[in-house]
Symmetry: C2
Subunit: 193 residues, 2 copies
Amino acid sequence: MTPGAGDKALGSSEDARVARTRADVARAALEVLTSEGSDAVTHARVAEIAGYSKTTLYTHWPSRVDLIALALDALGELPHHEQSGVLRDDIIGELQAFRQGITDMRLDRILTGMAQWASVEEMREIRDKINNSGQGPMRAMLGNVFDGAELEAALSMLTGVVACPSIMFGSLPDDDVIAAAVDIVLRSASRSG
Amino acid sequence: MTPGAGDKALGSSEDARVARTRADVARAALEVLTSEGSDAVTHARVAEIAGYSKTTLYTHWPSRVDLIALALDALGELPHHEQSGVLRDDIIGELQAFRQGITDMRLDRILTGMAQWASVEEMREIRDKINNSGQGPMRAMLGNVFDGAELEAALSMLTGVVACPSIMFGSLPDDDVIAAAVDIVLRSASRSG
């Protein structure tokens, strides 16, 4: 059957309702993920925060990984440093923005939430999108001074100077540790040619 | 009442039974954590694997974080490289041992399991013990060529070259990326004096 004008109107209104439910539940799931951790992202808890029934949530998002993927989809723009053109300052600024994002947006909980379901196929796309968007500016900057295996190594290493203390010890690096990391990497780059 | 010989014997036998239960449940919790991820570490699942009742588990370990802490306590020795005395080889070997531990012992799941409860006070001691034991040999080696903020930075960075791809993308670095990371750090150290 070809949809007529009436069907289209009905479809649009139904679509709008579904889209609104999706947005509400996604926001609630993200709120639970960042404020309570991935362990708390259950149908019961997200339904409570979103103000929908558990049945509605189970109908649209049958498993917990669906709720996590929905939360990640609602994450929006990741924090980045506005670049000045001075490489050392810009890399330091980018790492400080990442550190700030751990404090303000609880990116550490986003990271561990993603990591928990790293092997689930349906998480791969959203996970890669978020991680690539998070590392994008840093990759571009490091690409000015490194390539190949050294570029991959430098990117993981500088991400690690913020991510590792956070994930392993629940702590964040001071400004002097961030600056020391950038200096180690850039000093090495300038001598490698 | 002063305990007599009979009480002592009873106490010992009771202690032995509790210790055996604890060891069985700890092994089961670790098995669930590494084979299914921290999300699966529930009283129901661990009881099933350990062959004890859920009631027994709830009595001794009332919350899920108790089960995670118990699992981590059963982890045992972390994999380390046998040192040759050649710094570059030994750091590369240590990172390869860490990478092997992610494959063999699913240290990535241990890391994300710990990270999820990073802010829970009762996890702090066991988490710090495991992380310090994991990073210990690397810290000692890097301490030969760095100190202060640069030592902290180099330690987080080299941990990150293995941990970050694993946590962010579910992948592991090739040998050439590990070697590139070590060369970036050591090249910088040799020129910093």
